[in-house]
Amino acid sequence: MIQKDLTTYAKNTWCPGCGNFAILTAIKAVMKSLIDEGLPFENIAIISGIGCHAKIVDYINVNSFYSIHGRVVPVAQGVKIANRNLKVICFEGDGDAYGEGLEHLIFAAKRNIDITMIIHNNRVYGLTTGQYTPTSPLGFKGKSTPFGTKELPINPLELMLSSGATFIARGYSSHLELLKKLFKEAIMHKGFALVDVLQVCVTFFNMYEYYNKTVYELKEHDTNDYNRALDKIREWDYSANSPIGLGIFYKKNASSFDDNFPKTIPQKEDEKDIKIKNILKDFV
């Protein structure tokens, strides 16, 4: 009954030229290739927050959970722990992931839970029409900061590395082939994977020209080396004018939080009653 075409009937309402189109195209290509390689279609679950990025769940015809602002990560962890057969792929904006829901992101990285985070990092609030985000550069003039921000951005990749994430990468919405490669590797990675995508918002913070001049793809970078990863991640602080590396910064094999739970075993009502009554004997 299911159309294996991954498109829904929802009308796409992103602005023409929006970087989200590249993420949509890349993830659908990756999903198709995973399905072709044998991943059961029904074992994909995608989750989004609230913002322009989040509409992506309406546009892809797979199991989805359109959650609330900043709360993608707790939802994803619940889904994954409840059903470990699922490939849980999360889309979150920079406002969601690095602002409203930052604590969840840090804890999920710390637990190394097996989910994939794809961050649509346009460094501006789009759906609320143009305010600064945790990754906007110093001096960013938005509607809530008309004279420029007085605070430095956070470097989310450095934060993720120190929190325990085991797969850290950066993509760019104009490098489609790299995006596909990064998404696929992130999804196949067993553990907490985060891909920060420099996704350009053409309406409120058009960075195409700037990024085109400054980005480069990491070459001969040892992804197993924590200190080298840290150096590379620190090369650009999301504010100063410096080269912006794209690709996988860090990758590590480690045990995953979701490995540690008992399997749900359906219990017969009378067996359960007997078990409860037996335990009650300890309370006399």
Binding site: M1, I2, T8, Y9, A10, P40, E42, N43, A45, I50, K55, V57, D58, N61, V62, N63, S64, F65, Y66, S67, I68, R71, V73, P74, V75, A76, Q77, G78, V79, K80, I81, A82, N83, N85, L86, E103, H104, I106, F107, F261, P262, K263, T264, I265, Q267, E269, K272, D273, K275, I276, K277, I279, L280, K281, D282, F283, V284
Partner: protein
């Protein structure tokens, strides 16, 4: 003796909690029904903490202010509680730590040198409580075999040492009277929190998620200890926001889930609560009230969150709010709540308080009503799957991720039947109606379970209305004074007709609540009812039986 009440008090860190449970289980062996009231400060060492252990030949779920015996491990215990003594009460105290001065005339007073005994026996300081238990058993003529057996079942560390000092306490005490065995019954004794935990398991719980917060932390601890036995996934995430949203992830994936918190944590859960309403995800929330607002008295009780539970969150949606009154009800309604939220796909709140959560009860599982099986409605695979299929009852059949041929789309935005975001007026109204329509069918089903409970004296023209943990104290006071007791257990959807028939014929209605503003009164006023008198207590403590009887007599 028909009933016997004793107070054990000392400093935080003296092991009062455990010792009072052991005393209760000793009295239980004599065939008594038990209730323990625990009062303790929000500190780990020092400060005064005590328990009142009441044993009765009848089923009881409340304590009395007056006690027959005080076991004092520190001076505060005598100074603070001397007014609880009756003429024939007796006191056993640590003669190394307590001076029995300024007391009313007491016939029986026994000092035991606890410090000296534990030094002689080279025992740990915390075993002073075992020593005084040994002393109590002698004073009340309880055989040491009973103490020994209860110790063996309840003490895992340093059992021999505890038995040795208990024996010393016993040898150093005179027998004052004999507490005889009154029956052969011997129920398990545990807290409301443990009853809720068992109830959730009975209701098919797969996972429990919580951030620690008094008074419900012990549900988290207890279920974590049972995780392996019942294949439970028990998780303690970074905060209550995460707790609620994680639970919704579980519900989406088809696992029965509950969360637990107090008012402060529930504040953080409200965005998730309304999400559950919109997305129609079944989650049970155990909401344990304590004295607010804000941090308030974190380890004391209150009933101030009725309207919070009923109204928390933006938007309009169907929710189930149930306030059980004692451990057996907590078991029954927790199990039922989990079943019902899965059938109707909505959030359900078990509204309890510190009195019920941390009060200790005799628990008779055989007296609990049958919970009829109510299964969730599942997708029949005949038509293409739509998560929000608009049906007559408002209930859309369920499928879960990994189910073949179904695409399950959950949405916090207003959505169409397939779960895709919409903004048009017709679908907006239709979907709102769909979610609210479930309330009618839910209420119809709840009627079978008697959502408004009525207790003796049913023929009285004076009625006491109460909710939650005040059930027990109101029933007992009502029995003694000959009143009818009305306890609405289900508060949303409100069983208006059942409530109306319960109060019909009453000439005088008195409402008893642990809050300052009469929250149940406000609720029933909304449905066109009113009360004649109210008895409100909001000092962080529950009503004791004698206190409530005095208040009721004042009114009449």
């Amino acid at each position: 003796m028909k009933e016997f009440s004793l107070l054990l008090g000392g400093m935080a860190g003296d092991g009062i909690d455990k010792a009072s449970l052991i005393l209760a289980r000793i009295l239980n062996r004599l065939g008594y029904c038990i209730y323990i009231y625990r009062e303790y400060p929000s500190i780990i060492r020092g400060g005064h903490t005590y328990s009142i252990i009441r044993a009765s030949q009848n089923k009881i779920t409340t304590h009395t202010n007056k006690v027959d015996c005080i076991l004092a491990l520190n001076q505060d215990c005598l100074s603070l509680h001397k007014d609880r003594l009756k003429n024939d009460s007796f006191i056993i105290y640590d003669s190394d730590a307590v001076k029995p001065e300024g007391l009313p005339l007491i016939k029986q007073l026994q000092g035991i040198p606890l410090d000296k005994i534990i030094k002689e026996e080279k025992a740990l300081a915390v075993t002073r409580n075992s020593c005084i238990i040994g002393s109590f058993c002698k004073a009340s003529g309880i055989k040491m075999e009973i103490l020994e057996d209860v110790f063996k079942r309840n003490i895992s560390r340093e059992l021999d040492m505890n038995l040795k000092v208990a024996l010393k306490g016993n040898e150093n005490t005179k027998e004052l009277f004999k507490l005889e065995k009154i029956s052969e019954r011997c129920f398990p004794i545990f807290t409301g929190n443990e009853a809720i935990s068992f109830g959730l398991i009975k209701g098919g719980l797969n996972s429990y998620i919580a951030y620690p917060m008094t008074p419900t932390s012990n549900i988290l601890h207890f279920l974590a200890s049972l995780a392996e036995k019942f294949s439970l996934k028990v998780i303690h995430p970074e905060n209550e926001i995460s707790v609620m949203l994680m639970a919704e992830g579980f519900a989406y994936a088809g696992e029965r889930v509950a969360v637990g918190t107090a008012g402060g944590g529930f504040c953080l859960m409200t965005e998730g609560l309304t999400f559950a309403g919109m997305a129609e995800l079944p989650v049970v929330i155990i909401l344990g009230q304590r004295t607010g607002p804000s941090t308030g008295l974190p380890t004391y009780t209150g009933q101030t969150e009725l309207h919070f539970a009923l109204n928390a969150g933006q938007g309009e949606f169907t929710r189930l709010v149930i306030a059980p009154g004692d451990a057996e009800e907590a078991y029954f309604w927790s199990a039922l709540c989990l079943n019902l939220v899965w059938k109707y796909q909505l959030p359900g709140i078990i509204l309890v308080d510190k009195t019920l959560c941390e009060g200790t009860y005799s628990f008779n599982i055989d007296a609990i009503e049958n919970i009829k099986k109510c299964e969730p409605v599942l997708w029949d695979r005949k038509e293409q799957y739509k998560r929000y299929l608009n049906t007559e009852t408002g209930i859309s059949p369920l499928a879960f991720p990994s189910d073949k041929d179904a695409i399950i789309k959950i949405n916090s935005y207003e959505h169409d039947e397939a779960g895709i975001t919409i903004e048009d007026s017709v679908t907006t109204k239709d979907m709102c109606d769909k979610r609210l329509r479930k309330e009618k069918y839910l209420l119809e089903e709840l009627i079978e379970y008697k959502p408004v409970r009525v207790y003796e004296n049913a023929n009285s023209t004076v009625g006491i209305i109460c909710w939650g943990s005040n059930k027990g104290v109101c029933i007992e006071a009502g029995q003694n004074l000959g009143f009818k007791i009305i306890q609405p257990v289900v508060l949303s959807p409100f069983p208006k007709e059942e409530f109306k028939s319960a109060i019909s014929g009453l000439k005088k209605i008195i409402c008893v609540e642990n809050n300052a503003t009469g929250q149940l009164i406000k609720l029933i006023k909304y449905y066109g009812f009113d009360v004649d008198e109210k008895i409100l207590k909001y000092d962080g403590r529950p009503f004791s039986l004698d206190e409530l009887e005095n208040e009721l007599r004042k009114i009449l």
